[in-house]
Amino acid sequence: MSTGIGARVKRKEDKRFITGKGKYTDDIRGDNQAYAAFVRSPHAHARVKGIDIAAAAAMDGVIAVLDGKQLTGDGIGNIICGWAVSSKDGSPMNMGAWSALATDRVRYVGDAVAVVIAESPAEARLAAEAVEVDYEILPANAHADRALSKSAPQLHDNAPGNLIYDWEIGDGAATDKALAGAAHVTEMALTNNRLSPNAMEPRSAVAIYDASDEHYTLYTTSQNPHVARLVLSAFYQVAPENKLRVIAPDVGGGFGSKIFIYPEEITCLWASMKTNRSVKWTADRSEAFITDAHGRDHHTTAKMGFDKDGRIVGLKVDTIANLGAYMSLFSSSVPTYLYATLLSGQYNIANIHCNVRAVYTNTVPIDAYRGAGRPEACFVVERMMETAAREMGRDPAELRRLNFVQAFPHQTPVIMAYDAGDFDANLDQAMAAADVAGFAARRKEAASRGKLRGLGYSSYIEACGIAPSAAVGSLGAGVGLWESAEVRVNPVGTIEVLTGSHSHGQGHETTFAQIVAERFGIGLDAVSIVHGDTDKVQFGMGTYGSRSGAVGMSAIVKAMDKVEAKVRKIAAHVLEASEADIVIEGGQVKVAGTDKAMGWHEVGLTAYMAHNLPPDMEPGLKESAFYDPANFTFPAGTYICEVEVDPDTGETEIVQFTASDDFGTIINPMIVEGQVHGGIAQGIGQAMLEQVVYSDDGQLLTGSYMDYAMPRASDLPFFSVHNAATVCPNNPLGIKGCGEAGAIGSPPAVINAITDAIGNNNLAMPATPQAVWNAIQAAK
């Protein structure tokens, strides 16, 4: 069986995962290991008047009790947001100070004020409980829509009115004019519910300080260890880069929440130096709920105008985005450049304007979560399209088709230039697979059983790769978003690929090996993928934004190009042939049309023996490359959801879910389908189950799985997943990316289906049985 591009190769990494042999951060034990427990605010907003550590410091096993004044006193810098977004008046965003340990004020339940380092986790926890913090409780606010009101408590002195920025994109006047002249305008208020990321492995950090050469090693649950090292070094002044090694070993899921650099990693590194001990911290699930960056929490009103033929003439969107108590690493970009730039959807829309106000509230910071801005955009556009079709009495699929972008490249009015796609093909494929033609009969049959059956569409588009670097730089990004790779051919022909991408569930050890094995005609087992260690990998920007295929693999291809060029030169020299006649296939390097050949392993040996190399050629066979893409990639597709609702209870069952995706070239269809399954499950979770709830005064009420409902297998149907792809013209493999599509495309499909079933368009996520029942009653 082939193991190359397009082969359903089983995942190489699964053997160790399913036999319990994975090595995660919490499995690491440093020399002289000690344990950290954080003292966290139970108040949403309070002044810290004093911290009494005497009782805690005297307890058994306690090595040190450290607080924010000591941390800042040692010069550890504030946590920053690395993407500068300016208000429409040109003023910079209002970033409030965020110390890893609070010094004078706490701003959300879970804000850390002190840390206990002790001999055992239990002793650390007991002592943390004995730290007495004197709080002066201040009024608090958890809700984005209240944050801008005059009565709302002020969180940061440099952010008057709790406003972080008031940003806009597009031509407001032209959009207003287009809407004024529209034959029909659909207007909606839409909330994108706040979510908790819930990676299976909680966050963890093991910091190991070596006093002999003032060197730090940090094992951590990171999607991007090099970015972590850069930020820890350059902004938080923990240690210079050459004295700081960051290792992200096996990581059990991220979904964005492990991109960011959190207070705990910073504190563990610093505490390791202070105590001259290895310091480990691992979150429990309760801690994860109050410290992992949350996602979404958008409050939007939107107007979409159509001409008499049903063509969209304009879209105007106004959004308030909750960023929580502090600005997390990429928080500013999520509701702006990752959101409003996708508001054109799959459609020709000449006029778009979007205004976004980001606000502070007394809640956990909000940042990127699977999809990051694009699910919020897709939800706005696709809820609007379905609603508009109903209001205008048009078929929702045909309304979409009428407005689809047909010619590529296509420049939208909101920055993005779509490079390739065939939106009709995805819609057609999804409609055929979902048997839309038979829906009327199924609905009738369901009605005979007393059930309300509904069907909803979502034709999503997203932007992936989060690149090119110069483009994101011009939009305020504080980093470049290229990727790097190094391909090392060993003397006997086995290959190590060192990649700056990081696998935390994506299966890179398999897919990355597939493209290498195919290129050089060797077995998959002869290829190892090395990632997640700043001492091994030259540099890397990490994995998020569905970028590892389109950007990470492209870097590997570039490095392989260089390896191949050298192999050709060596083979041509040894075989006394012309480089142009050399072919690499089936484990051999041959001269085309002759029986002259050398084994792949012989080429490596020749390169390293260096006894018979072309004049001036350096020994060895190892090449590296940095790849910076020419454009974003644009995965797209159509999802169709079919539901049955029990009108007496509001209970909703998804009876059919069909996906047709365009991800460009697919390396391993099995892994890609797995990504789609997981993404759709998360999207259905958002649409029907998940919701972070805060009380008005900022207490988190959904702090465990008793109250925060995650999707389970029984909540999900068998997914019908299909692929109708166009090739991405902007990278060597033609890949677009697949990691987030499911979570982006599915929520509007689900809500469009339920609202179709119940005949009431006013239904917020999550569509719990109670919410659906209320909507049914309201429609009566």
Binding site: H43, V109, S695, Q699, L700, L701
Partner: protein, 152 residues
Amino acid sequence: MDMTGQYRIGAARDIVWAALNDVEVLKLCIPGCEEIEQLSPTTMTARVVQKIGPVKARFEGNIELLNIEAPASYTIKGEGQGGVAGFAKGSADVTLAEDGDETVLEFTAQAQVGGKLARLGSRLIDATAKKVATKFFDNFHTHLTEKGPTGG
């Protein structure tokens, strides 16, 4: 949520009022009260153990009597820190009305929690608070009925 209740106590209002201001009586009647110490006629410190849903915590805190209109009404207010479990606050407005030889006690109480208690036990707070408040006034009623002039 406001919790309300009414008790008819077979004792004169002055006796009921005195009991409401007696630290020993409060200690006996506050559910889970391990210790109470009077700092002034209107302030006390207390240690109370409570279980709310899955969280059992020992609260160290203060009790304060305010809005005193002897012998007709006062507000009893408490707040306690439960360590990592979070905090709890509560207050009850208590009024005493004479009705012949008996006294009618009415109360309106509120409770608030924060931290882990809110995250894990929020759905159980109202029920627990109601149970605690009811238990207190039940205990109080029983105490007076058994010890009091008409009950003894």
